[in-house]
Symmetry: C2
Subunit: 123 residues, 2 copies
């Protein structure tokens, strides 16, 4: 039972016995079936197992969180998934960099004007 009193969400959904060393049990508690259902739908059980086994135990919690996020993004946006979010953020970064360049240019121009006015005594 993965160290808990009831089978984990993965074993519940896959209708199998939850062994004490179940790789999913620490990350998919029995009261949250939805979380496992999402990653299972997108990655499949054997792929999640492979990914988790490929990661040190202390980083598996983070790996599960990122897989859940990624699966959720793919379910919401079947064509672009996470890549849609990356694309929007990249556009936002470019827009902000452009805005920053414009404002910095404006500051430079104001400072040059000020310098000119002070040097020429306001004439």
């Amino acid at each position: 039972m993965g160290g808990t009193s009831s089978p984990c969400a993965s074993c519940k959904l896959l209708r199998r016995r939850c062994s004490p060393d179940c790789i999913f049990a620490p990350y998919f508690p029995s009261n949250d079936l939805c979380k496992f259902a999402m990653v299972h739908k997108v990655f499949g059980c054997s792929n999640i197992t492979k990914i988790l086994k490929n990661v040190p135990v202390e980083q598996r919690g983070d790996a599960v969180r990122s897989l859940v996020y990624e699966a959720n993004a793919r379910i919401r946006n079947p064509v672009y998934g996470c890549v849609g979010i990356i694309s929007k953020l990249e556009t936002q970064v470019l827009e902000l960099q452009m805005q920053l360049a414009v404002v910095e240019e404006e500051i430079l121009s104001i400072k040059m004007q000020q310098e000119f006015i002070f040097t020429n005594g306001g004439t």
Copy 2:
């Protein structure tokens, strides 16, 4: 053969007959085994099939490109995958928004100073 002269990369890797209506053939040409190998490693064949079938034909090219990007990110960073990229971009957006706020504050302050100088005749 998915309409081409040799089996597509997917059928080649999975050692199966490539039928004329193979769902992978248009997106995984036989000369690029690596692309299919990557998505297969992360999502598995049946999950890629499900995702593609869930998407209109005219958007399947984009879906494949996003799956390849996502798989590549997961292989490079097994713990965070695409979510690592999203996290970095979110940090970059926040930093740029803060920089922009600082620079805009600076402009406002310079303009107020200028106004004060002009109103008080530089005294």
